[in-house]
Structure formats: structure tokens, C-alpha cells
């Protein structure tokens, strides 16, 4: 019983019977058909699935980017959609960090500025002078940890694909989110550079970062602690 309680209390994220349907070209696509999953704190979970299987949709529901038609997403035991749009916004901005296949860095800013600007906007104009040094130090620390010490003042056009993705990871983790959600984070990179990005994930995971990563590539998924496959709208253990 004690073991069961400990296991239950270490579950950080859980879904109950998630359903999601999209209307495409006049047809209803029932993408998720009752997805049940749970995630332990500090775990690295990979969700595998073919293109169009709904794995990105699942990630968006876990991150509060979209709402399920049925079912719930529980973080720390609380439904993330229970407190209206303000509650979901807070969850997304404070608890979750997102990494995508494409980096979406502002080309006119340097690597450091791309990470700092989120902290700048997040804190507001009045609070900014008080937190500026702290935000800048945190951004510098994150970029240095990701091996970009010599690239802090380079613009994205002067960085390789792998370096740009590392800047995007630094931006996602700069506010120390409890949960990192990654959608095909190596999808736009060659095998070698993709391997380096997985090494970055491995390092943060060792330090306790909880990660959910969706990918179509079984070799990429192999880096995770646990793998689930999304087929016909449902998850199956691999």
C-alpha cells in the first residue's frame, strides 16, 4: 500500500479518456479515441506514431494549447482546463516549455536576446529593471550549458540548425518549467546533429527534467525511458 501511494503521488501528469475530433475537407477526423496515459515526475516518455496519427494533437492537449472534446488532462492532480482560459494560460506559461521541429527564432536578435526577450515580455515593463540582470544571467547560463558560450551574440542566420534548436531549447527551459514537451525536436536535423540534441535532452533529464517527446522515428524514441505508440487514436505500450 505504501508503495502504491508513493507511486501514485509521483505521477505528475495523467489523462483520462481524451477524445479529439477535427473537421477537414467536410469530413470528421476522430484523431484521439480515449487516450489514457500517466507520467511520473522526472520521467522521459516518447510517443511514437505515423504522420497524421494524432501524436502532435495529444502533445497540444497535454500542453494546454488545445482543448479535448472529452476527457481531461490532470497536472499535479488538477484538471488544467478547470479554471478557464486564465488557468490554462498560467499553466502554459509557468509549468510547460515547448520545443518544436522548427525553431522560430527572431532573425534580427542574437541568440542571447532571443532567450532574454521572453523573460523581458513576461515580466512587464515596470518590473523589468528589477529582474533584468537575473533574467540575463539565467539566459546566459542556459545557453552556456547548451554549449553555446561562443555563440551568445550571433544572430540565427550565423548559427547551424543544431545550434538554433539549442537556442530554442534554452528559450523553452529558461523559466524552469516542470514539464518539457517536444514535438519532433530532431525532425529538421541530420542524424548527427539530431543525436547532439538528444544528448542535450539526456543531460536535462538526468538533472530531473520531465519530458514528453513525440516522434515518428523509433531510433529517436529509443533515447527515452518509456515508449508508447499512438495507433487508431489510442496509446499502446511498446
Amino acid at each position: 500500500m505504501a508503495t502504491a501511494t508513493a507511486t501514485s503521488s509521483s505521477v505528475i501528469l495523467r489523462t483520462t479518456s481524451l477524445h479529439k475530433t477535427y473537421r477537414m475537407g467536410g469530413e470528421d477526423l476522430h484523431v484521439l479515441r480515449g487516450v489514457e496515459m500517466s507520467l511520473q515526475k522526472g520521467e522521459w516518455l516518447a510517443v511514437l506514431g505515423a504522420s497524421g496519427s494524432g501524436k502532435s494533437t495529444l502533445l497540444h492537449l497535454l500542453g494546454g494549447l488545445d482543448r479535448p472534446d472529452q476527457g481531461s488532462v490532470l497536472f499535479g492532480g488538477e484538471d488544467i482546463f478547470a479554471n478557464g482560459s486564465g488557468g490554462v494560460d498560467r499553466y502554459r506559461n509557468t509549468t510547460v516549455g515547448f520545443v518544436f521541429q522548427f525553431y522560430h527564432l527572431l532573425p534580427e536578435l542574437t541568440a542571447l536576446e532571443n532567450v532574454v526577450i521572453c523573460g523581458m515580455i513576461g515580466n512587464g515593463v515596470l518590473a523589468w529593471p528589477g529582474v533584468r540582470a537575473k533574467v540575463r544571467a539565467r539566459a546566459t547560463e542556459m545557453l552556456e550549458r547548451l554549449g553555446l558560450k561562443d555563440r551568445l551574440h550571433h544572430k540565427p542566420s550565423k548559427l547551424s540548425g543544431g545550434e538554433r534548436q539549442r537556442v530554442a531549447i534554452a528559450r523553452a527551459l529558461a523559466h524552469s518549467p516542470a514539464l518539457l514537451l517536444a514535438d519532433e525536436p530532431t525532425g529538421n536535423l541530420d542524424a548527427n546533429t539530431g543525436g547532439q540534441i538528444l544528448d542535450v535532452f539526456r543531460e536535462f533529464h538526468r538533472a530531473g527534467q520531465t519530458i514528453v517527446m513525440v516522434t515518428h522515428d523509433a531510433r529517436v524514441a529509443a533515447a527515452a525511458d518509456r515508449r508508447l505508440t499512438l495507433e487508431a487514436g489510442r496509446l499502446a505500450g511498446a
Partner: protein, 221 residues
């Protein structure tokens, strides 16, 4: 001899007059071409200045102007670069919401829906995307943006489009009553089509400048 001289004098007078007229005509034409070239240069310089100098002050929402959507429902190349620019400013937290504005034809062609799908796939919450299905041209987009801003309590917007389109869009927004719009241009790859679009935009800009669109009233919702 006299006759010959007389006939020459009689024949050369109109010739000299015609020559003088032709010369004057050429001078006027040269001046007109010079003036046109000067005006065109100033206009294109202004278009480039407005289009390439982004105003990246934070705004409540970005207005992304629609463009061609492929048969499979994915954004065409021009629309994709606009949406990628929109995602850059969003992930840098310079904007909080999107107004995606474009045309719809029949049941299968829907620019705002395609834009929304692309933004969601790249990390934008569905709840933060407002679709405007009546943005069939730049002015309609501007008018509908004004209505949406009032309805959703959005105070400031950032225009996202291609560099050659920004100046006319700013004019359209100003005509619609939105004077303090920010703007950011898409990272359009170099291509010859730009020459055509600059020409098209030049004509369209003066249509907007001299046509009283406000008399048409509110279009769309």
C-alpha cells in the same frame, strides 16, 4: 533662282516648325519620364522603407494577411513565410493572439482555417487564434480587424505580411481607423515575382489612397 529660293523657303518653314514641335514634344516626354522615374523611385524607396523597417514593439495581437492555400489545405509558399514570421514574434512573446484573415471559396478553400491549423501545429493555442473569413482583400482585413479589436478589447496590433505589401496595409489600417499598427515583414526568399508584386502594389496603393473606401461602410461581420 528666285523661284527656287522661294520654293525652298516655303518648304522649310513648316519643316522647321514641325522639327521644333517634335523637339518640344521630346523635351516634354523626357521631362515626364524623368518625373515619373523620380516619383516611382521615391514610391519604391518608401515601400522598401516601410516594408523592411519592422516595428517590433509588443502588441496585443498579430494580424496575418492571407494568401494562397494548396489543394491539400496546407499554406502556399507565400503564406507559409508570413506564418513563420508570425510564429517568430509569437514565440518571442511580442504578441499574445492572432487574427488570421483571408478568403474562403466554397466548402474546400479556406485561408483562415489553413492558417489556424498551421499555427496550432506550431504551438499556438487554438483559443488565441481569431479567424476572419471575410478578409478577401487588404481593406476588408483592416475593417474586420478594427471590429475584432473592439469586440475582443484588443488595443494594439502588429501587421504581418510581405515587405512590398506592408505600406498599403498600413494605409488600409489607417483608413479603417487603426493608426498605431506595428508591422513585421516575412522572410521572403529572393525571386523575380517581387518585381511584379512591387508594380501591382504601386497601382493598388494609389487606388486605396484616392478611393473613398470608408464610404463603403463595414464589410464582413
Amino acid at each position: 533662282m528666285d523661284q527656287t529660293t522661294q520654293s525652298t523657303t516655303h518648304g522649310s518653314a513648316p519643316t522647321a516648325s514641325r522639327r521644333s514641335l517634335r523637339q518640344r514634344g521630346r523635351t516634354v516626354l523626357r521631362r515626364a519620364i524623368a518625373l515619373f522615374t523620380l516619383w516611382l523611385s521615391v514610391h519604391v524607396a518608401a515601400m522598401l522603407w516601410f516594408g523592411l523597417h519592422d516595428d517590433l514593439r509588443p502588441a496585443d495581437a498579430a494580424v496575418v494577411l492571407g494568401n494562397w492555400v494548396e489543394a491539400d489545405g496546407s499554406p502556399g509558399p507565400l503564406l507559409k513565410v508570413r506564418l513563420d514570421r508570425a510564429l517568430e514574434v509569437y514565440h518571442a512573446r511580442l504578441v499574445k493572439k492572432f487574427i488570421v484573415s483571408g478568403a474562403t471559396w466554397g466548402a474546400d478553400y479556406n485561408e483562415p482555417a489553413a492558417m489556424k491549423r498551421y499555427l496550432i501545429a506550431n504551438g499556438v493555442p487554438a483559443a488565441d487564434i481569431i479567424e476572419d473569413e471575410f478578409g478577401s482583400n487588404t481593406y476588408h482585413t483592416a475593417l474586420n480587424a478594427r471590429i475584432t479589436m473592439r469586440a475582443r478589447e484588443i488595443e494594439t496590433v502588429m501587421i504581418i505580411s510581405d515587405f512590398y505589401h506592408i505600406m498599403r496595409t498600413r494605409l488600409a489600417f489607417s483608413l479603417a481607423g487603426i493608426d498605431d499598427a506595428r508591422s513585421a515583414h516575412s522572410n521572403l526568399p529572393p525571386q523575380w515575382g517581387v518585381v511584379y508584386w512591387i508594380g501591382r502594389e504601386t497601382v493598388a496603393f494609389y487606388r486605396y489612397l484616392f478611393h473613398d473606401y470608408r464610404a463603403q461602410g463595414v464589410i464582413g461581420r
